[in-house]
């Protein structure tokens, strides 16, 4: 009763159906493993638009960073860093201050120790100059840099590792009027440190001063540079810490646990 052609035809069709079902099932399983959280097209659409917005933002950022990279001028930055480090000779307007020990003969009862220039007076003068916006300072041709310190060395003053003797000529580049005003302000450096001891001082405003470069070595044996990303991480942590402290210590109790998890 069953024709052979029928068996072949329907059998083939059934086989095809079975294979199609398997392939389709496989595709569907894959889809569900890759996109398990989405059941409808609209959810996918929302996700898509969200990602599109993200992408736009990132592209804007990229644009901005590219612009920054384009604007970044290596030579200019290097120049300003070299100027700040003090390894280049500088010139510009500023003040020239000459400090000398007392000039008149001392009386027998006067302590000569009070009437000479001490290292702390020099230090205070330089501090005052920095505070007044001096951009570079040199004493007797010794350029002051980050490592420079002042110390007393008998009758001389040690600036950095150079022994200096009076007269001390301090040259500072900056706004001449501001620098002079900072020293001569009533109750300021001049009145408290110089006049009581009758030290000799002249403050000259100059239009063009020459400051020699720093001549010492800068060798770093122990110090190591911190990469910029890590630096940002550290500052980020500090800010977070401040926020936590601000919240009345409620979060402080949970903090060690959190850190433990991170470790």
């Amino acid at each position: 009763m069953l024709k052979r052609s029928w068996v072949v035809g329907v059998g083939l069709a059934s086989m095809l159906l079975g294979m199609l079902l398997v392939f389709q099932f496989r595709t569907e399983t894959n889809v569900k493993t890759y996109l398990p959280q989405f059941k409808t097209v609209s959810e996918l659409g929302i996700k898509w638009s969200r990602m599109q917005t993200d992408l736009n933002k990132k592209e804007e950022e990229l644009q901005r960073l590219r612009q920054q990279l384009k604007d970044y001028n290596r030579d200019a930055e290097l120049k300003s860093l070299r100027m700040a480090a003090g390894v280049t000779a500088l010139r510009g307007p500023g003040v020239e201050i000459t400090l000398t020990d007392v000039t008149r003969p001392l009386r027998s009862y006067e302590d000569p120790n009070l009437f000479i220039v001490h290292y702390d007076q020099l230090e205070l003068l330089v501090n005052e100059l920095w505070a007044a916006g001096a951009e570079a300072v040199a004493i007797n041709g010794v350029r002051l840099v980050a490592q420079t310190g002042f110390s007393c060395a008998g009758t001389t003053i040690l600036v950095g590792n150079k022994k200096l003797a009076p007269p001390y000529v301090i040259r500072a580049i900056g706004d001449p009027q501001t620098l002079k005003a900072a020293l001569t302000i009533p109750g300021g450096y001049l009145e408290s440190q110089i006049l009581p001891f009758e030290l000799g001082i002249t403050i000259k405003q100059e239009n063009s001063l020459y400051l020699p470069p720093y001549k010492g070595s800068s060798v770093f044996t122990y110090a190591e540079e911190v990469p910029e990303e890590i630096e940002e991480m550290f500052t980020g942590e500090e800010e977070e810490g401040d926020e936590r402290e601000g919240e009345n210590g409620i979060l402080l109790e949970g903090e060690p646990v959190v850190e433990g998890e991170e470790l």
């Binding site: 069953l2 024709k3 052609s5 029928w6 068996v7 072949v8 035809g9 329907v10 059998g11 083939l12 069709a13 059934s14 086989m15 095809l16 159906l17 079975g18 294979m19 199609l20 079902l21 398997v22 392939f23 389709q24 496989r26 595709t27 894959n30 889809v31």
Partner: protein, 118 residues
């Protein structure tokens, strides 16, 4: 008679599991139509067998013609942005239920006849 399609599907599933292929996600809607077309062909073939007017060439031609028309509809619907393939799905489903009801009638009638003969 029912055993042939069942056996065929089983064999197809076995072969499908052995083959590593899968359907690209873009062609998902087409597979749906292809599945419907094959199911329709199987039911149609069963009905024809019961009516005893099954012709192999007719079966094959109608199977492929239906499938190709359905896929073409889906393709153009995709291009035009309209779900025309829905029409094919509905048409196939209606045919399916029609065929199923006829097959059911035939089987019941045959069963009754058998019962009355005994």
């Amino acid at each position: 008679m029912l055993l042939v399609p069942l056996f065929g599907v089983g064999l197809g599933v076995g072969i499908g599991l052995l083959l590593p292929w899968e359907i690209p996600i873009t062609y998902k809607s087409y597979t749906a139509l292809a599945i419907l077309a094959t199911v329709d062909a199987i039911f149609g073939g069963m009905r024809a067998q019961l009516e005893e007017n099954f012709i192999f060439s007719k079966f094959m031609v109608s199977f492929f013609a239906n499938a190709i028309l359905a896929v073409a509809l889906a393709y153009f619907g995709n291009i035009l942005g309209i779900d025309i393939y829905m029409g094919a799905v509905v048409a196939f489903s209606i045919r399916l239920f029609n065929n199923l009801s006829l097959i059911r009638e035939f089987l019941i009638i045959r069963y009754w006849r058998r019962g009355s003969q005994k």
